[in-house]
Amino acid sequence: MEVKNIRIRNMKTGDFKENEYLEEYLKELRANGVNIAVAKLDDLINWGRSNSVWPLTFATSCCGIEFMSLGAARYDFARFGWEVTRNSPRQADVIFCCGTIVHKMAPVLKRLYDQMAEPKYVMAFGACAIGGGPFKSSYHTVMGVDQIIPVDVYIPGCPPRPDAMIYGMMQLARKIKMQEFFSLSEEPGLMDFKRIKAKAFEAIKALKDMNPLKKDEKGGKR
């Protein structure tokens, strides 16, 4: 699939601004020997995937309020099929990082991301999630979520307007449409069966090695 063939609603490629980025992403995928979505089945699956992305409700501060506006009547992201916000990361496809991430929150965010099933995506909402924002000089702020987890779409603003958020979501939908669902890619973030399989084997081995008695001693109260 070429970038120029991707449409989101009635917006064609020319209506979007950041097309070079997608072209480059496409080139990169090709260079690494990854198949690009070409088949009709892929098209169908991606059509479904990009129109029903389930976000995780995750908001730490001010940007979260604009995210709530996005969910409410005027901006209503249900029009894009994104309204099924999930409270459990295990059911979510995308994590919307709305707000500042601080040192104490960083491991929590990482854990949430790890709990999500692949394929998963991350959107960085607002200056804080992109690079620390107004709290750049603080001793307790993480300078952008990409220090902890990989990010697919950055949406600038402090806070970004809900319209900007919609634009960012459409950009993610374009990215989703380009990927081949069934490919065995090496790119982290895409479906990577080899990696998942290897991980699963590791986990099983670790379980076998584990001494259940020992764990009880260490465990204690949660």
Binding site: T57, F58, A59, T60, S61, C62, G64, I65, E66, M68, S69, A72, A73, R74, T85, N87, P89, G99, T100, V102, H103, K104, M105, A106, P107, V108, K110, R111, L112, P134, F135, S137, S138, Y139, H140, T141, V142, Q147, I148, C158, P159, R161, G220, K221, R222
Partner: protein, 542 residues
């Protein structure tokens, strides 16, 4: 405490300084508890805040006090110690219930210990954090405190370190644990849709009934107070919007007023009117969101959508005049950033009847709903005495009958020119807290109505110097935020940066209220009670 002359007789060892309605008492460290208890017994029953201070060669604390009888008077009880290695003061936890979280905060930021306090854990930072960030000699190198990779060890949150004076080395000793070994403890948050932000509560359950909760803050602690010490005053304004973002314009107003007081700047009347109108619009927007979120906590999504829909109208007004939706960024030192948009008055005037109509609809839709009443009635009682002891200002305190509206007590901007009632209820129950917000929206509409046509002509901002230097001294300003009394304390050494700036977060005490009213209720009520208190976590964490 009726007159302040009596103070000297009451506290012979104190050095008293008086300025307008503010009175500072300096007492030696060893007398601090004695002074505090004498003041408490003579009527100062509201502990507003405890401010930690690093004066350079000494460390100190400032207790900010008022009396519920005579709330105009603000009293600062100051004490200091030169022992920087192991600074300690007597805890005042048995005098005021609100001291609990404040003392832990001072301990977290300054390493000051409070003798006899049952709980000396860190409040915001992780228990394994190195150093005390608000001390002047704090080493902020990221190598010392790198981004943690693992989750916090909750076992460290479990034991309550207590400073034991009988112990020769002044070691922290764990005497007790938060929860019993036999208790069933469930984690609630920090990633939870109903905690209204990243609040972490550990809840001890007995079946479905809650026994006890232990809040854990700091998941959005950005260190705004420390950052501000390196920022100029106009720069600090931008951070205040982001404390309690739902009443951002009001917070910013407080800092502007404090700095203007210090500079003795004459702010044009027009600016005062505009600021008041913007503040009231902010309050309405905040209460609408608070109402919607509380109803959503009770399972009514419709109410949330209604609240957000009407809030958008205010966002439109803001956008036209201020340029921003949520972050208005509108107040500046000396006035406001730009004049109002030509449409402003018309839009506000259209909004007032619209909102009145909608309020009726809200009552029809939700207030009288038997399911909603079934959830709210008779639950979450907070008495007036407890509200004062916990320092629960704002709608929560007023729903319990504590008259604490700063707009009335200490009128600022154009509030003295508008006639409005302070909403008071006596029930102290969840329903009172619910209804008082809608009543306050009504009063705010009245204020808007009176002011909007009378905005005087003239400049919208006074001229200020390019570099604003605040003369040496202390400046304090309180305003009525949407959630209660928001205060700013500035200690200036005549520089363009503050030496120390402290914000009083009205939300922090509300979590303490939650701790007090929740035991004995069901898990489902916890969420609703949180909604009825309507705290904003980033304001607590700062």
């Amino acid at each position: 405490m009726k007159d302040m002359e009596n103070l000297q007789a009451l506290l012979p060892f104190a050095a008293i300084e008086q300025k307008e309605n503010t009175c500072s008492l300096a007492v030696p460290g060893k007398n601090s508890y004695e002074a505090a208890s004498l003041l408490k017994n003579s009527g100062f029953d509201y502990l507003r805040d405890i401010i930690g201070m690093d004066y350079g060669d000494t460390l100190g604390v400032i207790y900010s006090l008022s009396s519920s009888e005579n709330p105009e008077i603000i009293l600062f009880l100051k004490t200091a110690t030169s022992d920087k290695a192991a600074p300690k003061f007597d805890s005042v936890i048995d005098l005021w219930d609100s001291a609990d979280l404040y003392e832990r905060e001072v301990h977290d930021f300054f390493g000051i210990c409070f003798v006899n306090s049952p709980d000396m854990r860190r409040l915001f930072l992780r228990q394994d954090w190195r150093g005390f960030p608000l001390r002047k000699d704090y080493d902020a190198r990221p190598e010392i405190n790198p981004i943690p990779l693992g989750n916090e060890n909750l076992a460290e949150m479990e034991t309550l370190p207590v400073l034991d004076i009988m112990n020769a080395d002044d070691k922290f000793e764990a005497h007790e644990t938060v929860f019993d070994q036999s208790e069933y403890v469930v984690n609630f948050g920090p990633q939870h849709p109903a905690t209204h932000g990243v609040l972490h509560l550990r809840v001890s359950l007995d079946g479905e009934v809650i026994r006890k909760i232990d809040p854990n803050f700091g998941y959005i602690h950005r260190g705004i107070e420390k950052m501000s010490e390196a920022y100029t005053y106009p720069q600090i304004l931008h951070l205040t919007d982001r404390l309690d973002y739902l009443s951002g314009a009001i917070n910013r107003h407080a800092v502007c007023l404090a700095v203007e007081k210090g500079l003795q700047l004459e702010v044009p009347e027009r600016a005062h009117y505009i600021r008041t109108i913007i503040d009231e619009l902010t309050r309405i927007a905040s209460h609408l969101l608070g109402w919607g979120a509380m109803c959503m906590d009770m399972g009514s999504i419709t109410a949330f959508v209604y609240g957000m829909r009407d809030r958008e109208k205010i966002m439109d007004i803001f956008e036209e005049t201020c340029g921003g939706r949520l972050m208005a960024n509108y107040n500046v030192i000396g006035g406001v950033m730009a004049d109002i948009h030509p449409n402003f008055q018309k839009r506000v005037k259209d909004f007032i009847p619209y909102m009145r109509k909608m309020l009726k609809e809200y009552h029809l839709l939700f207030t009288g709903n038997p399911i909603a009443r079934g959830r709210m009635d008779g639950i979450g009682y907070l008495s007036r005495e407890k509200a004062i002891a916990l320092g629960a200002t704002g709608p929560v305190g007023r729903a319990s009958g504590w008259s604490n509206d700063t707009r009335k007590i200490d009128p600022y901007a154009a509030y003295a020119k508008a006639g409005f009632k302070e909403m008071l209820r006596t029930g102290g129950l969840t329903f009172d807290r619910y209804i008082i917000r809608l009543d306050e929206v009504e009063e705010s509409l009245k204020i808007l109505e009176q002011l909007i046509d009378n905005i005087p002509e003239g400049g919208y901002a006074a001229k200020t110097r390019a570099i604003i230097k605040l003369p040496e001294g202390e400046y304090f300003q309180r305003v009525e935020g949407a959630r209660g009394e928001f205060c700013v304390y500035i200690n200036s050494r005549g520089d363009k940066y503050p030496y120390r700036i402290k914000f009083r977060s009205p939300s922090m005490t509300l979590v303490n209220v939650l701790k007090a009213i929740v035991p004995g209720t069901k898990v489902a009520d916890l969420i609703m009670l949180g909604g009825s208190l309507d705290y904003v976590i980033p304001c607590i964490d700062r």
